[in-house]
Amino acid sequence: MEISRDAYRAIEDIVGPDNVTDDPAFLDSYAFEWLAELVRPNRSHYMPRPWAVVMPASTREVQAVTKVCNKYKIKIKPISTGWYHWAAPMKDDEPTVQFDLRRMNRIIDIDEKNRFAIVEPYVICAQLQAEAMKLGLNCNIIGAGSSTSVVASACAYFGGGPSSHYMGNNSDNLLGQEWVTPAGKVVRTGSLSSGAGWFCSEGPGPSVRGVTRGNLGSRGGLGTYTKCAIKLADWPGPAEMEVKGRPPGYRLPIGENFRAYTIGAPNWEAWANCYYAIYDNGLGYIFHRQLNLAGANLATALWLTYIDPTKTLNDVETLAKDPEIIAINETARISFQLILAAQSIDGIQLQDKILDEILSQTGCYRVERYCEQDMAEFTNMYMQRLGHKHCNFIWAGGYMGSWMQAGTPDFVKGYVPTAIKGFEDDQQSHLLVECGGDALMGCGSTLGGGGYFGLEQFVSYDPASDASIDACIKHMEDAIADCVAQGIPLGKEQLYLQIGWTDQRIWDGMAKAPQTFVLDFQRQFKDAVDPNYLGDRNYPWLPEKWGEAPAPAQAK
């Protein structure tokens, strides 16, 4: 579908000819998205192609282009780094202009005293962290890792990660934000709205933050966030990370006021108890079940391979059969990573003592091999910078996260056996990576501050193989069936599969939700800020009276 020349020229006048394109190959580089093959017809690796890609450099330009889109009734889809398939246009028949916000890339300010930073959309977590650390501060990095945009996770999508346990979820850390609505109005939220600065997320009246993002986020379906302020946490480490070693397994030496542990548990009951005790005692700077993304059968072999720069994945095969490695692997089978940090040596020693006590009471333990210097420094690096998150795709280039229902440890522990059994069964086809039924990975905290978390099954498949793609889709359907059979709410796979559904099918599902008033309210809110419906359906809403039984007169 070609963009109308008038609309194109109008956009070109705003951003300049070098900052807009409708070259088909360029457009494909935005349509191509991870996971598309699981939800698009014929396993296509492309989401719908945008009509044009535009790169505004300022809020004013975003606003002006948004107004052009309103004039020509073209949908708007903003991206920051564009690492999620929700970043692409959602439907083939909806002409959409993709806003690539990479020219809006400044850290506007780090307010050291009040501990927050003001950033534009193309500032990634690693950049902000590097600058914050110089001031003794740190930022929560989402589970997707430090290559992702701070604004995207704060304003537009979820925002939880390994450090949320201590530093909060980015949905909570979001303070003032600047938002260009789909209608082209610039809205400043929180204390910004009264010209008082960026320090507070809530202004007078109802929470705009709550309405626009909630827990999940509008995922590009409700205009463009052009700046936001984000709360920072303390960083008791050096101003600059002194990274050692060769790629890929860089290491971060563990300062004397830090610890980097992998904690093992004899069973899931002990694991949950340990989690509760860690949470109750306020321990943990970073808390995540990270390294199990490789699968509980292969994790030790993979990571010992990974930290040796002379090795390749072929070595995992040999190592995985080594009795010594198998033994280590068993000790790490049910485990998680825990980084402790304190302002003083006394502080860290106290934390260690508390942890010792927790471990002795719950029957959990430090996994020895993982706590040796090489693995501990690697774990420290991985968890502090989250610069290896692309390892999610390490086995075959494809990863789909199923499950990930969040809740208390007891709730999560409850679905673990079903999740493991289902995945084990699906691996029998040999069309998914056979890493054991437990490739469950997840945040120690899906709500800021911890106590509530989720485990996601890391399903690795080969996106270059149709059969493997099909096996992954089957797994998604199986996981849904397992949840339905066990009365467990549906997980991420359902959210993904919906991308391939019609509006009507999605609305039919939503209409069965226990509290549809939220979706009704969101429609009314959308009517107010997006009268031309230029944001896509990623901001969920329900048409008026959808799913209600037709009135008798109409039924005739």
Binding site: T21, D23, P24, F26, R246, N314, V316, E317, G397
Partner: protein, 424 residues
């Protein structure tokens, strides 16, 4: 190989954009966090390694065609390999740099090479150099040095000056210093003079693979005739061509040594004594072809296979080039051995170094982009407070010198051999 051979790489690209940044663990500031000059200049995703994989796929699938924009996005890239290192931080099944090379080769094959490269290719055809100079003048830089002429006699070592040192009057002194050091080392060496041919690396980097084969055939035959078993060069581009490309594409078994490796060895065994103090604060730029792309070539002829159902590996195991074993320590050891020299590091070093801007034919094809890339590095060097930016490649040096002059800057740009010379 062809772009089809990298189809699976494209399908397995996750659009994560690691290829746009320095390896995330190594990021030290906002200012110097970028890894890829091409995306920083071209901006659209197509100007990144991941973007080019998608371009390949899109072209293969007939979803798009080669337009002027596409051509620019394919060629406006330094082939510096920063993307390759960053991508391989987490992936063992991707070869973005090789895939980008094949995309260039495909465009060349289809007649889509940008016109700007024609003068260089013409010069290579007629005069065996990249610089539009008459080939008879190639050995002039060494006229009065009394070096063995290996077209007439034999030696164990050949010093290959390369195009830049042979013809760039401002830079030839470096080659002359190299000769003095080789003499000091007591090596049995000579040069090919006018019979030396360009290594072919630059042509290869723009996808004109045939030219590499021609150059390799010529140079390897000449060296063989002269009884040479080791080629020594002070040029990182030539080093890469001889060490990696000649071995892979022409079956070369000749040993390849960069001057910094020889100097390092001489410092270590005490045969090079630098006693003259050189009171200077310097920073070192890792040339891409000596650093992250300077790893040894390991022959491989294998196929993909699956383990654990779908995990992608190779049979036999595929060598992994991710910058882990580039030539990083040798130049630093030499600099540290020079009395008075204080080495201060930039933020982006070794496998995470920012390119000088001359690589991949950018200097010839996209001079503004090339100069901008160099300018970025100059700023980084200046931020260290160094008096001089030192490197070990004439292409980097020339690009830096031009960028400093263009910006009327004060930073001195030196080859490491010039510093060594001052200390002798």
């Amino acid at each position: 190989m062809t772009i089809q051979d990298y189809r699976a790489d494209a399908l397995r690209c996750t659009r994560c954009a690691y290829c746009k940044w320095v390896p995330l663990d190594l990021m030290k500031s906002w200012r110097f966090s970028k890894g890829c000059p091409s995306i920083e200049y071209g901006k659209f995703h197509s100007y990144s390694a991941g973007g080019r994989l998608i371009t390949s796929l899109s072209l293969m699938d007939g979803r798009s065609t080669v337009t002027d924009k596409v051509r620019d996005s394919v060629f406006m890239c330094n082939m510096c390999g920063s993307c390759d290192v960053a991508c391989k931080m987490c992936r063992y099944d991707m070869e973005p740099l090789l895939a980008m090379h094949e995309l260039r080769a495909k465009l060349v094959e289809d007649g889509d090479l940008p016109e700007a490269y024609q003068p260089m290719l013409e010069s290579l055809r007629t005069d065996y150099n990249t610089m539009g100079e008459p080939h008879e003048r190639r050995g002039d830089w060494a006229k009065d040095l009394g070096v063995k002429d290996l077209t007439k006699t034999t030696a164990k070592y050949v010093f290959h000056a390369g195009c830049r040192y042979s013809f760039d009057g401002e830079q030839s002194e470096v080659a002359r210093t190299a000769v003095a050091i080789l003499k000091k080392a007591g090596l049995d060496f000579g040069i090919m003079g006018a019979a030396e041919s360009c290594c072919g690396g630059k042509a290869f980097s723009i996808g004109v693979d045939q030219q590499l084969h021609k150059s390799a055939d010529h140079n390897l035959a000449a060296w063989k005739k002269a009884g040479v078993d080791t080629v020594i060069t002070a040029c990182a581009d030539c080093y890469y061509a001889f060490k990696r490309l000649y071995t892979q594409h022409a079956g070369s078994t000749i040993k390849v040594v960069h001057m910094v490796e020889l100097l390092d060895q001489m410092v270590a065994d005490g045969s090079l004594k630098m006693t003259n103090p050189v009171p200077m604060k310097v920073t070192y730029h890792d040339p891409c072809h000596l650093g992250r792309q300077g790893e040894d070539y390991v022959p491989w002829d294998g196929v993909e296979k699956k383990i654990f159902g779908q995990a992608v590996v190779y049979d036999p195991p595929r060598p992994r080039y991710n910058g882990a074993f580039g030539v990083y320590d040798a130049p630093r050891n030499v600099l540290k051995a020079i009395p008075g020299v204080e080495l201060v590091e930039m933020e982006r070093i070794k496998e995470g170094a920012w390119c000088c801007g001359a690589g991949g034919g950018a200097r010839e094809g996209y001079p503004k982009f090339s100069e901008w890339t160099a300018g970025e590095r100059i700023e980084e060097a200046e931020s260290t407070g160094a008096d001089a930016l030192v490197t070990a490649c004439p292409w980097c040096e020339r690009n830096f010198i031009d960028a400093v002059r263009g910006a009327k800057g004060k930073l001195e740009v030196l080859d490491i051999l010039q510093l060594v010379d001052m200390a002798l």
